[in-house]
Each structure stands twice: as structure tokens, then as C-alpha cells.
């Protein structure tokens, strides 16, 4: 027996070596795969199987129908156009902001970074109403324009309207990831270039931006896929001829059994994966890692003269544009009646009284659920990014792709899948596992994992493997090196991931609506939904929306503080 076991063990070790993993890393990989199988693959497959069901069993005829239907093909190209347009516009907004923040000494940089997250927090329904009240065809801006100059700007009409709103909504993906990347650039790189005579635009184009590429690509890829798969904004603008709304409208028809909706979802998943793979090609084969960890980020300069004016004007423009809907929500929450006028008729604080009397517990729930979900995301995100980058485990790219695919999974599909899979499983005490509040946390975490994964992956690309090897030479195990060396070096990326996951989970509705079964377990988004179903509930709904925004902004501001403290601790400080 002993003689038999020895070669077996040797072979096992051989395999581990070939995959470049330690037993601990392998265990980590197995755990992650088990988690994703249980809460993503199994539930979603149990719903999506409808795409392949015909009267006599398995069929691919519905996929054939997709390609024979001109409306779907038209929708596909519309979605592509919107997604590309949104990436371009979002880049125009985010790249300069990220650069100014990283390059110059700014008073209130933390505030701007926190505000940079707020556009991601678009509370359901309230956000739509406020957006219309500000930018709609009879919104504040257009009513004033029409009164003063006799014309209107169709901000929210047609596909270009979708691009405008999506870019305002999602540019923080680029801002956050690019900022994290910029903060990780070794300033010696920049100094070398300066010694060689590079200045200004050349320095940015040849040195700074290329080094920050992982962050930009991560952010831009997220914007692309998110916009491609988004249905909130198109529905808000009544643009139905896009793929995601076509899928949604079919999946959510009352009967719930139209196969075509699931076919479109499957195609969305496949295309999103292709897009992510393509974005991976941009950064593949290049090395962004630097070995020195002396200077945290670019050398900061004071901002003076016309540059100051330009930088401030740009940032203020972006903040005003992207926060107008939130100002709208704020006004709405204090408004008595706001109808066909630039501003509400009168103001009141009674909506807040209503909300605090009825729904105070929801704020705590949102903090708890979203905090936990974002933490799960960051832990999983770091682990997966690490396994993909540092091991040769077979199927590791598949794992990355699998996570990204969840971006294209509609919340309703995951919600139904979770009910279907876990409603029969009872926890001690008789509560079905599916409707236990922890399941809501897992549901949030699954669909936001891509944000954290991209952020952690981008940060990890900037850390050279030799740093861990050095630690290992000094006797640290793989996991110790991960914990003590890698994680501290990618804090910025992890926080960017945490904040995006947290902010978007705080306003999630479709899963929430299926999985919440008791009012005491309900988060803010559920409360907003309940209020916004009646005309009288508009004010309280908006008040809850404001609270959601504040909760997220505070979270973002604290994370920024932590990141900044980390930067100061590691680097040579803000002034150089």
C-alpha cells in the first residue's frame, strides 16, 4: 500500500507543479468554483434552459429564429452603436478628471472622488422621474431653454439620448479604475522620462497613460458590457429596439415562458464574453508591472494660472452634468407637487418624516447587505484575479469569463433561478434558504462580482511577480505572500471594486423584488419601489432615494480616505 501511495502522491505533486499552484491555492480555486456553481451556474441554467426547449424536447430552432428576425438584428446593431458611443463619451468625461485628480494638488479631491461615485447610484424609478424632470422634453432645462430662446435639446431622445444618459451614469467605472491605476504608477518612471526631456502632453501620451492602461481598459470594458446589457436607461427613454430591452420585455411578460427572451439573454452573455476577451487582448502580452514601490502615484503639482481655470471648469461641468439627476431627486424629495414647471410648486419636509417613521430599518438593511456583498466581491475578485495571473491552473480564463458573464444575466433570471433552486432547502427554523436575507447578499454579490474582479485584476497587472518571489525566498508561503505583499499593493483597486459593487447593489431592484419576503428584511430599493407605485408616494420615494445616495457617498468618501492614507503611508506624500 505504501509503495502504491508514494508514486500517487508524487504524481499529485507533479500536477500541482505543472499548474504552478500550491495546495492552498488549489483549495481556494475549488472553493470559488463551488461558490459560482452553486449560486450562478446552477440557478441561471435552470431558467435559461427554456431557450433550448421545443415541443419535442431539445431544439436550436429558437436561435435560428433570432438570426432570421430583422428586429433582433437591428436591435443588435443599435446596442453595439450605443455601447461604443457610451464608451467614447464616458472616456471623454472620465479620463481628464482622473488625470487632474492624480496629477494636481486639489482641494477637496476626496469630495470629487466621492461625487464621482454618486452617478452610479441611480435609485429605481425615482432616478427615472428625476432625470425626466431635469433633462426630459419638458424638464427644467428644456422648459427654460424654450421660454428664453424658443428651442429644446433632445437630451433624452433616440439612441443618442441613450448614449448621453448611459455615459453620465457609468463614467465612474472608468474614473475609479483609471484613478486606481494612476495612483499605482511608479513615479520613477515619470522622472526618468522627464530627465529624458518629456513634458506635458508627450509625457502623458507616451508614459503616463500607457502605464495606466490596465485601469482604463478595465473601466472601459465594464462600461461597454454594462451599457450593452443595460435595460434601465433604454426603457426610461422608451428605446425598445435594443437587445437587452427586447430580452427583458419578453422574459417579464406575465406568462414568463417565451423562449425568445432567454435566447436573447444567451446571446447577450456570449457577446459580452467576446467583448471582454477582446479587451483582454489589448493588455495581453504587455507588461505593466513595476518592481519598485517607492513612490505612490504621479508626482503632484500645484495647479496654477489658466490650467487651474481649465481643470476646475471641466470638473465642475462634469459634476454638474452627472449630478443633475441627483439634484432632481433632492428637489423631488422636498417638493409638494412638481409638474410641468422648472421647479416644484412648494417645499415640505413631511416626506422625510414619513420615510423615517415607516422605513428607517431599510437603511440599516441596505448598509448591511451591500457592505457584505461588496466584501464578498472584493475577496472573490482578488482571489480570482490572483489565480488567473499567477497560476497555470487549467480553465482559469474560463473562470474569469464565467464571472464576467454574470454582467449579462438579468436580475430577474438570477432571482427566479435562486427561488427555483433553494426554496425547497430549509434553514433551521423553517425559513427557506432562498428567502433568507443572506441569499439577497449572495445575489447582489454574484451580479456585481465583475466590477470587483476587473478592478482587482487591473491593479494586479501593475504589481511585478518578483515582489512575491522575493517574499517567498524569504520563506513566506503563497497565501502569506498574497496577504502580506499583494493585497497591500492593490488596495486602491480593491477599494474601487468595493465602491462600485456597493454603490450599484444599493439600488438593485429586480432580484430584490423576488427575494425579499418580509418587510423587516427589505432594503431601501424595495422601499422606493413600494412608494413609487402611487402618485402620493413620489415624495417619500425620492426621500428614500436621497438617503440611498447619501449612504453610498459616505461609503465612497471613507474608502477614499482609507486609500489616501495608504498612499501617504507607502509613498512620499501628496506634495513632492
Amino acid at each position: 500500500m505504501v509503495a502504491l501511495e508514494a508514486p500517487l502522491a508524487a504524481r499529485r505533486v507533479g500536477l500541482l507543479r505543472r499548474w504552478g499552484v500550491s495546495p492552498a491555492q488549489l483549495a481556494l480555486a475549488v472553493l470559488i468554483v463551488a461558490f459560482l456553481t452553486a449560486f450562478l451556474i446552477v440557478p441561471v441554467s435552470r431558467v435559461m434552459v427554456a431557450a433550448f426547449e421545443g415541443p419535442t424536447g431539445f431544439t436550436l430552432v429558437h436561435f435560428g429564429d433570432f438570426f432570421r428576425t430583422s428586429l433582433f438584428l437591428e436591435s443588435f446593431f443599435n446596442s453595439l452603436y450605443v455601447a461604443v458611443g457610451a464608451v467614447v463619451l464616458a472616456s471623454l468625461l472620465a479620463v481628464p478628471c482622473a488625470y487632474f485628480l492624480a496629477r494636481f494638488d486639489f482641494k477637496g479631491a476626496g469630495l470629487i472622488q466621492a461625487l464621482g461615485v454618486v452617478p452610479l447610484v441611480m435609485p429605481p424609478f425615482v432616478g427615472a422621474v428625476a432625470m425626466q424632470l431635469i433633462f426630459g422634453r419638458n424638464g427644467t432645462v428644456n422648459l427654460l431653454l424654450n421660454d428664453w430662446f424658443g428651442f429644446r435639446i433632445p437630451f433624452m431622445e433616440g439612441l443618442n439620448g441613450v448614449i448621453f444618459v448611459e455615459a453620465l451614469h457609468y463614467f465612474p467605472f472608468i474614473l475609479l479604475n483609471l484613478s486606481a491605476s494612476l495612483a499605482n504608477i511608479d513615479s520613477s518612471m515619470e522622472e526618468s522620462a522627464q530627465n529624458l526631456g518629456a513634458r506635458g502632453w508627450t509625457l502623458f501620451r507616451r508614459i503616463v497613460f500607457p502605464l495606466a492602461m490596465p485601469g482604463y481598459v478595465a473601466g472601459a470594458a465594464l462600461v461597454f458590457v454594462k451599457v450593452f446589457d443595460d435595460l434601465g436607461t433604454p426603457l426610461l427613454l422608451s428605446q425598445t429596439n435594443l437587445l437587452a430591452p427586447q430580452a427583458y420585455l419578453r422574459i417579464t411578460s406575465v406568462g414568463l415562458n417565451d423562449p425568445m427572451g432567454y435566447v436573447i439573454s444567451a446571446i447577450l452573455v456570449a457577446f459580452s464574453l467576446m467583448a471582454m476577451a477582446a479587451s483582454g487582448l489589448i493588455t495581453r502580452g504587455r507588461d505593466y508591472a513595476t518592481q519598485q514601490r517607492g513612490g505612490g502615484g504621479l508626482a503632484r503639482r500645484p495647479l496654477v494660472g489658466w490650467r487651474k481655470t481649465v481643470a476646475w471648469s471641466f470638473i465642475i461641468l462634469v459634476v454638474v452634468l452627472s449630478l443633475s439627476p441627483h439634484v432632481g431627486i433632492l428637489l423631488l424629495s422636498f417638493a409638494t407637487v412638481w409638474s410641468f414647471s422648472p421647479l416644484p410648486d412648494a417645499f415640505t419636509i413631511k416626506h422625510y418624516a414619513t420615510v423615517f417613521a415607516d422605513s428607517a430599518h431599510m437603511m440599516g438593511n441596505t448598509l448591511l447587505y451591500c457592505g457584505l456583498a461588496a466584501t464578498i466581491d472584493v475577496v472573490l475578485g482578488v482571489s480570482i484575479a490572483y489565480l488567473v495571473a499567477r497560476t497555470r491552473l487549467p480553465g482559469r480564463r474560463l473562470l474569469d469569463g464565467l464571472v464576467m458573464a454574470s454582467l449579462a444575466v438579468p436580475g430577474l433570471v438570477l432571482g427566479i433561478g435562486i427561488l427555483r433552486t433553494y426554496y425547497g432547502v430549509e434553514l433551521p427554523g423553517g425559513v427557506p434558504l432562498a428567502t433568507f436575507w443572506g441569499m439577497l447578499v449572495i445575489g447582489y454579490a454574484i451580479r456585481r462580482l465583475p466590477y470587483a474582479l476587473r478592478a482587482c485584476d487591473a491593479a494586479l497587472k501593475q504589481v511585478h511577480e518578483s515582489l512575491e518571489e522575493a517574499a517567498e525566498n524569504l520563506g513566506a508561503g503563497k497565501l502569506t505572500a498574497l496577504r502580506r505583499i499583494v493585497v497591500p499593493l492593490i488596495t486602491g483597486g480593491m477599494l474601487a471594486g468595493f465602491v462600485t459593487s456597493f454603490a450599484t447593489a444599493a439600488v438593485e431592484l429586480s432580484e430584490t423584488l423576488l427575494l425579499v419576503t418580509r418587510d423587516v428584511d427589505a432594503p431601501i430599493s424595495y422601499g422606493i419601489y413600494v412608494y413609487m407605485q402611487s402618485p402620493a408616494g413620489r415624495g417619500p420615494g425620492a426621500a428614500l432615494g436621497v438617503i440611498a445616495v447619501i449612504v453610498v457617498a459616505l461609503g465612497a468618501w471613507f474608502s477614499h480616505r482609507i486609500a489616501e492614507r495608504e498612499r501617504l503611508r507607502r509613498g512620499r506624500g501628496g506634495t513632492a
Partner: protein, 451 residues
């Protein structure tokens, strides 16, 4: 702390039993109810809260739990939780109840409450097989924003036909019939009242004026309340309750409106069936029916006697013969082609709204030009353009044909493999695109002739 040996819940349960037994002596009917009642509903807080409060006051000892869901999520929830379902499904959309009934997810019951009408207008209030029951009636109509109408100098609409007028171009919103069971009934009502071909012509001509086909019923009153557009085709309580909440809106019933019931049903396998039945009886009792008159709720009681207490001017479908009785509604006909009509409307209007708008805009322009300067040939072209922009691609016999309508219904074992939904939809979409483009071209030509 003294009796740690007994778990707390057991002590509570024992106490509960004792209390229940005590009540049992006092009021035998009430004591039999369970302690919980789980209601799944699409109604807003304004509706659910007063009912939950009043019911708990009438039946102390029953704790009402409200689960708010939109109709889709509600149906999905009931379907996925069969092993331990909620007790009552309470919503407007009759189609949701049909789906639940077909899925054997509802339990039959016969309410005992006296004085409930059999029909409202020509629409039966209860499901003939007793799986769900109307507790309130609502009618479709036109809601408009008074500020918007004044600022845009629009006339006040009164009838569906008014909405065809060029003056309303770009001012009207509706929710898609595929997304709103009540809009569906309005569409079906127009089709039954005017006949298939003429009905579709009306729907398409109104469609030409639409600025939005919303994916959710409440999206329309939301937009009218904000003044994003002026007129919405909505169910009455959206208009009436918005007005009661202070928004500058008005609501009118057109002559050919459908008055339809909002429903409630017991979910099959309910864990608290007695409480569920008691809740339905409560909804139909005088106390329950009276709550409907609350201005924030503004729905029409199904108990005709209740209108004696209603404020002056409250619509009464049982007395006011103009409301909902002109059309004799054939629900069998409606049921058979339900999915088909929804899909057809989406192909012809929802997904081709831009093209439909362009066609009718051109027709309006041409007609206005021709009215100023007559041109016989131009007039002929416009007639043809009108025909193109208001023709439905499938005739009534085919639409009512079981095999064709069946293509739009869920996959089932016994379904004959015939033409698929996707094939019809592609054909209709092509029809819409081609016809609207041709109509626009003809109308543009006619307008040029009248110059």
C-alpha cells in the same frame, strides 16, 4: 429567567392557544382563523395599508404580511414557491389571474358576501369557475395634465376618436398591452366595439400620435403627472388618485370604455386558508367596499349599494349606462387571441413607433396642405397613404384561428407543430416597416403636389 427549561416560543404558543381558546368562547367564527395571512400584491401602499389595518382590526389575532411585487415578479414568485406558498394573490391584471389559474396555482372558492353585482357593464365580475373574484371595478380613460394642455393650447379630449386628431401629435402616452393587462382589455374592447379591421385602424391612427409606449402601467401616469407629455391612456384610479394627491391632472371616461374588475384569489395550497377566505369576505363586505371610496384609492365598488355613500360626482358604472355597457364584451374571444393581439400591437406600434409617427406626421401635413389647396391626385395619394398606415397584416378569421393563435401560447406537449411565433412576428414587422415607409413617401408626394 426562572423557567429557562421551557423554550420561549413554547411558552408563547401556549399563551397563544390559551388566548385563542378564550376568544373561541367569545367569538367562535373568528377564533378559527390562523395567526398569519400572507398577501402577495401589486397594489401600492395607499391601497394595501388601509386594508391590512382594517382587516386586522376586524380579526384581531391575525397578522397580515404584505409582499409587494410587480405583477410579473408576483406570478414568478407564486410559481416558484409552490412548496410553501403565500395565501392570497391580489392584483389588477386579469391576465395574471388567468395565467395562475391555467397553472393550477389558484384554489376555487365561493364568496358568501351578499349584494355583489354579477356583472359590471357587460364584464362578469367573478371568474365563472370560481378561481378569482372581482373586488373593485376600474375603467380605462384619458388622463391629462391641465398645465401642459393649457401651455400647448390643446383641446380637452373626450372620446377615443379625439386622440386621432393631428393636434395631439406627440402628446399622448400609453402602456403596451403586452405589459399591462388592463391596457390589453382596452385594446381588445376597441377591437370588439369597432370590429377587427376598423379597430386596428383606430389603434394605428392613435398610435401615430403616441410619444411613448411604456413598458409599465404606472409609467404613463408618472409621465403625465410630471408633465413630460400631456395625455395618457390610463386606468381611472391612476388619474383620480393623482388628482387627489394634488397633481394638476384631470380624468375622463370615453363612451366606449371597458369597465373591468380588479381581482383577488386564494393561492392553491395556502397555509392559512381560513384567514385567506376571511380576507376575501372582508374585501366584499360593506366595510371593505367602503375603503375603495378613499380618494387616494379611488376605485369603483362592486357592491352597487355602496354608491349611496359615495361623494357627489363619483362614477357609478351600475347606474351610469354610458359607462362600459355599450360594448358587449366577449371574454372567450378575447382569451383565445390574447397573446396574439399583444404581439401584434408590439410589432405594429411599440417597436415601430418612430416609423409610425413619421408616416402619420406626413399624412397630417399632406392633409393640411390639401385643405388649403385642393389637388385631386394628391387627395388620392393621401387616401392610399392612410390605408397603408392603418392596415393590419392578419385578418380576423386568422387571428381567431386556434392554430395560429396557439403559436403565441406557451410550449406544451400536445401543441401541434405549426408555424412559429417568430415567423409571424417577422412577417408583421416587415409589413409595418414597408407600409409605414410607403405611406410616408406617398403623403410627402401629395404634400408636394399641394404646394
Amino acid at each position: 429567567m426562572t423557567d429557562r427549561g421551557t423554550p420561549k416560543w413554547r411558552r408563547r404558543a401556549a399563551l397563544g392557544l390559551a388566548v385563542a381558546a378564550g376568544l373561541g368562547l367569545a367569538a367562535p367564527a373568528r377564533a378559527q382563523l390562523e395567526e398569519r395571512l400572507v398577501i402577495i400584491t401589486s397594489f401600492s401602499k395607499d391601497v394595501t395599508e388601509p386594508y391590512a389595518k382594517a382587516f386586522m382590526a376586524a380579526h384581531p389575532g391575525v397578522k397580515v404580511e404584505i409582499l409587494n411585487r410587480n405583477t410579473t415578479a408576483g406570478v414568478a414568485y407564486v410559481r416558484e414557491t409552490r412548496s410553501n406558498p403565500p395565501d392570497v394573490f391580489w392584483a389588477s391584471a386579469p391576465d395574471a389571474f388567468e395565467v395562475l389559474k391555467k397553472g393550477k396555482l389558484l384554489e376555487a372558492y365561493k364568496p358568501a358576501a351578499p349584494g355583489i353585482a354579477e356583472k359590471v357593464g357587460t364584464f362578469p365580475i367573478n371568474d365563472p369557475e370560481g378561481f378569482f373574484f372581482g373586488f373593485a371595478a376600474s375603467g380605462y380613460g384619458i388622463m391629462y395634465n391641465t398645465r401642459y394642455v393649457k401651455a400647448n393650447e390643446l383641446p380637452t379630449p373626450k372620446e377615443w376618436a379625439d386622440l386621432k386628431k393631428p393636434v395631439y401629435f406627440g402628446h399622448i402616452g400609453i402602456s403596451a398591452p403586452s405589459r399591462s393587462g388592463t391596457t390589453h382589455l382596452t385594446v381588445e374592447n376597441i377591437l370588439q366595439a369597432q370590429g377587427w379591421e376598423k379597430g386596428w385602424a383606430t389603434l394605428l391612427e392613435i398610435g401615430g400620435n403616441l410619444v411613448q409606449v411604456s413598458d409599465r402601467s404606472f409609467g404613463v401616469p408618472d409621465a403625465v403627472n410630471s408633465g413630460q407629455y400631456g395625455l395618457g391612456i390610463v386606468i381611472d384610479f391612476f388619474g383620480l388618485s393623482a388628482k387627489a394627491s394634488g397633481f394638476p391632472v384631470e380624468f375622463v371616461y370615453p363612451g366606449e370604455t371597458a369597465i373591468v374588475p380588479a381581482n383577488v384569489g386564494i393561492i392553491a395550497g395556502a397555509k392559512n386558508p381560513k384567514a385567506a377566505r376571511a380576507f376575501i369576505e372582508f374585501l366584499l363586505s360593506d366595510a371593505g367596499q367602503k375603503i375603495l371610496l378613499d380618494p387616494k384609492i379611488s376605485r369603483l365598488p362592486v357592491k352597487p349599494a355602496m354608491y349611496a355613500n359615495a361623494p357627489a360626482g363619483y362614477p357609478n358604472p351600475f347606474k351610469d349606462t354610458a359607462l362600459g355597457s355599450r360594448v358587449s364584451f366577449d371574454s372567450l374571444l378575447s382569451e383565445g387571441r390574447y397573446e396574439l393581439v399583444n404581439s401584434l400591437y408590439d410589432r405594429l406600434v411599440t417597436f415601430r413607433l418612430k416609423e409610425l409617427n413619421a408616416a402619420w406626421k406626413a399624412i397630417h401635413t399632406a392633409e393640411a396642405a390639401l385643405a388649403k389647396k385642393a389637388n385631386a391626385e394628391g387627395a388620392k395619394l393621401v387616401v392610399e397613404a392612410r390605408r397603408l398606415a392603418s392596415t393590419v397584416p392578419i385578418n380576423e378569421a386568422d387571428a381567431n384561428n386556434k392554430d395560429i393563435a396557439g403559436a403565441f401560447q406557451p410550449v406544451s406537449k400536445d401543441k401541434k407543430p405549426g408555424q412559429r411565433q417568430a415567423e409571424f412576428e417577422e412577417r408583421w414587422d416587415a409589413h409595418a416597416k414597408k407600409n409605414y415607409a410607403e405611406a410616408k413617401a406617398l403623403a410627402d408626394k401629395a404634400a408636394a403636389m399641394a404646394k
